[in-house]
C-alpha cells in the first residue's frame, strides 16, 4: 500500500493501480448494462452475444442454491478461468461474506470484480471483507442506505440491491431500491445538524452520509439485483433510478435464454420507451418459474449486516 493515504499501489512512472477512481470507474463503464449469472463458458458466450456488459461466474445459479441447499461457496477456479477465457467482457465472481481468502484467490485468478454475496453461505457473521486491502474492486448487496454506506466504508466500489435472489419475484428488489432512493431524497432536505443524527441512526459514517446528501445519489454505481426475470422488470428497476441490472437465474432458468437475455439488454437501454419495451417483450417463451416471496421465504436478503 502507498503511504499517501490512498489505497493505490505505486509503480514506476507515477502509474497507480487499484485506486478508488479506477475501482469505481469500471462500475461506471458498466452502467446502463446487464450483468448475467453464468455457470459454464457456453453460457458466458450466450450472454456476451446477447450484449451483456459483464458476466458473473458461479457454480450454481441462486434458484438452484435455494432448492438444493447446503453450503454455497466460491466456484472452482478451473470453471472461473474457463469463463474468463471464453469472453472479452469483464468477468465477476462471488466470494462468501467475510471470506477474505476466497477473495484473495479470486483476485489471483484475475477476475475483474468480486461480489461479496449473500447468495453464498456467509463465512463470518460479524465482519465483512476489508475491501480496501484489495486491488480488485468489490460489489456488495444492500437493502437500505445504511447498509450501502457501511459497505462503501469497507471499500465496496459498486452496490446492488439485494432483492431476493433465485425467486423470479422482483418485489424485494423494488423494496430495496425504493428504500435507498427515498432515504437519499430525505437526506438532501436535511440541514447539517440533522445529518449527524441521521448518520448515527442508520449506523453509517457521517462523511459518507454528507457526501451522499451533496451528490443526491450514492457515491458509487448502484445496480438492481435479486428477482429480475423479464424485460419489464429490468425497465421497472431502471425507471426507479438504478444504474443497471443484474440478472441471475432469470435468464438461464427460462425457456429461451439467448432471446430473453437480448430482450433484457435492450429493455435496459430503452427503459423509457414503452413502444420498444412492448416489442422486446414479445414471444420470449417461458419465464423462469417464480417463487412468490412471503416473509417466511426471505432467506438470502437477510444475510449481511
Amino acid at each position: 500500500m502507498s503511504s499517501n493515504g490512498t489505497n493505490g499501489h505505486m509503480t514506476s512512472n507515477d502509474t497507480e493501480k487499484g485506486t478508488e477512481k479506477v475501482k469505481r470507474g469500471l462500475a461506471q463503464m458498466l452502467k446502463g448494462g446487464v450483468i448475467m449469472d453464468v455457470v459454464t463458458p457456453d453460457q458466458a458466450k450466450i450472454a456476451e452475444d446477447a450484449g451483456a456488459c459483464a458476466v458473473m461466474a458461479l457454480e450454481r445459479v441462486p434458484a438452484d442454491i435455494r432448492v438444493q441447499g447446503g453450503v454455497a461457496r466460491m466456484s472452482d477456479p478451473d470453471m472461473i478461468e474457463g469463463i474468463i477465457n471464453a469472453v472479452t467482457i469483464p468477468v465477476m465472481a462471488k466470494a462468501r461474506i467475510g471470506h477474505f481468502v476466497e477473495a484473495q484467490i479470486l483476485q489471483a485468478l484475475g477476475v475483474d470484480y468480486i461480489d461479496e454475496s449473500e447468495v453464498l453461505t456467509p463465512a463470518d457473521e460479524e465482519h465483512h471483507i476489508n475491501k480496501h486491502k484489495f486491488t480488485v474492486p468489490f460489489v456488495c448487496g444492500c437493502r437500505n442506505l445504511g447498509e450501502a454506506l457501511r459497505r462503501i466504508a469497507e471499500g465496496a466500489a459498486m452496490m446492488r440491491t439485494k432483492g431476493e435472489a433465485g425467486t423470479g419475484d422482483v418485489v424485494e428488489a423494488v423494496r430495496h431500491a425504493r428504500a435507498v432512493h427515498s432515504e437519499i431524497r430525505k437526506l438532501t432536505a436535511m440541514d447539517e445538524d440533522e445529518l449527524f443524527t441521521y448518520a448515527k441512526n442508520i449506523q453509517a459514517p457521517y462523511t459518507l452520509v454528507k457526501e451522499t446528501a451533496e451528490l443526491g445519489r450514492l457515491p458509487v454505481v448502484n445496480f438492481a439485483a435479486g428477482g429480475v426475470a423479464t424485460p419489464a422488470d429490468a425497465a421497472l428497476m431502471m425507471q426507479l433510478g438504478v444504474d443497471g441490472v443484474f440478472v441471475g437465474s432469470g435468464i438461464f432458468k427460462s425457456g429461451d435464454p439467448a432471446k430473453r437475455a437480448k430482450a433484457i439488454v435492450e429493455a435496459v437501454t430503452h427503459y423509457n420507451d414503452p413502444a420498444i419495451l412492448a416489442q422486446v417483450s414479445r414471444g420470449l417463451g417461458e419465464a423462469m418459474v417464480g417463487i412468490n416471496i412471503t416473509p417466511d421465504n426471505i432467506v438470502l436478503g437477510k444475510r449481511g449486516w
Binding site: E16, G18, L26, G32, C53, G110, E266, T269
Partner: protein, 194 residues
C-alpha cells in the same frame, strides 16, 4: 448554441453529459437514429464495446453514426475510440472505421491492471499534466501520418489522437473533474460551425 449528443446505449454517458453541460454546451442523449438530427457534435463514451456495438447494430445506428462522424466533430473515449478506429484486429465487431489507426482492445490486461497516470497532452494539457484514468483500456498500436498523436505513455503507447474533426482517447477524462478535454472538444464543435 451548439448542441452535442452523447451516445447513450450503454456506459458512462451521464458523466460526459455533465462535463459538457458544465463547459456550456447544450447536450442530449442519443439512442435511436432520429436522435442525431440537429446535432453539431457527438461523444461516443466508454462502456463495453461489444455491448454498444450490438445495440447500435440492432437499432440501425451504425450507418447514421458513420455518416454523422464523416463531417461533424466526434470524440470517442475508450470503447468509443475502438468504435472510431479503422482496424481493431477482429472482423466480428461492428465499428465506424473512420480514423486511420490500429487499436488493440484490452491492451493493458484485466481490471487489476487498470491505472491512473498524469499525462502531458499536446494542445490540451502542456503545462500541468492531465489525470488520465485507464480502465481495461485499449491502446493505439499504429497511427497513419494523417493522424496527430496527442499523448503517449512514458513507456510508449499512443493513448490520445486527433484526425481533423475526430478525437480519440484511450482514457476517461469524464471520470475526473478536469474540464480541459471537454473544453477542447467543445471548441472543436464551435469552430466547425464557424
Amino acid at each position: 448554441m451548439p448542441k452535442i449528443g452523447i451516445l447513450a446505449l450503454q456506459g458512462a454517458f451521464i458523466e460526459h453529459q455533465k462535463m459538457l453541460d458544465t463547459v456550456g454546451a447544450e447536450t442530449t442523449q442519443v439512442r435511436l437514429p432520429d436522435d442525431l438530427q440537429d446535432l453539431d457534435g457527438l461523444v461516443i463514451p466508454g462502456g463495453e464495446s461489444t455491448t454498444i456495438g450490438k445495440l447500435a447494430t440492432q437499432y440501425g445506428l451504425i450507418a447514421p453514426l458513420r455518416e454523422f462522424a464523416r463531417s461533424k466533430p466526434t470524440w470517442g473515449t475508450c470503447a468509443g475510440l475502438i468504435f472510431l478506429a479503422k482496424d481493431i484486429g477482429i472482423e466480428a465487431q461492428p465499428i465506424l472505421g473512420l480514423m486511420d489507426i490500429q487499436v488493440n482492445r484490452n491492451a493493458f490486461g484485466r481490471q487489476v491492471d487498470s491505472f491512473e497516470i498524469p499525462l502531458i497532452i499536446k494542445g490540451i494539457a502542456e503545462d500541468a499534466p492531465f489525470p488520465a484514468v485507464f480502465i481495461r483500456a485499449p491502446m493505439v498500436t499504429h497511427a497513419q501520418p494523417t493522424v496527430t498523436v496527442l499523448a503517449t505513455l512514458p513507456k510508449g503507447g499512443i493513448v490520445a489522437v486527433q484526425q481533423q474533426h475526430l478525437l480519440g482517447t484511450a482514457f476517461h477524462p469524464e471520470l475526473t473533474d478536469d474540464l480541459r478535454f471537454h473544453e477542447y472538444f467543445y471548441d472543436m464543435v464551435k469552430s466547425n460551425l464557424a
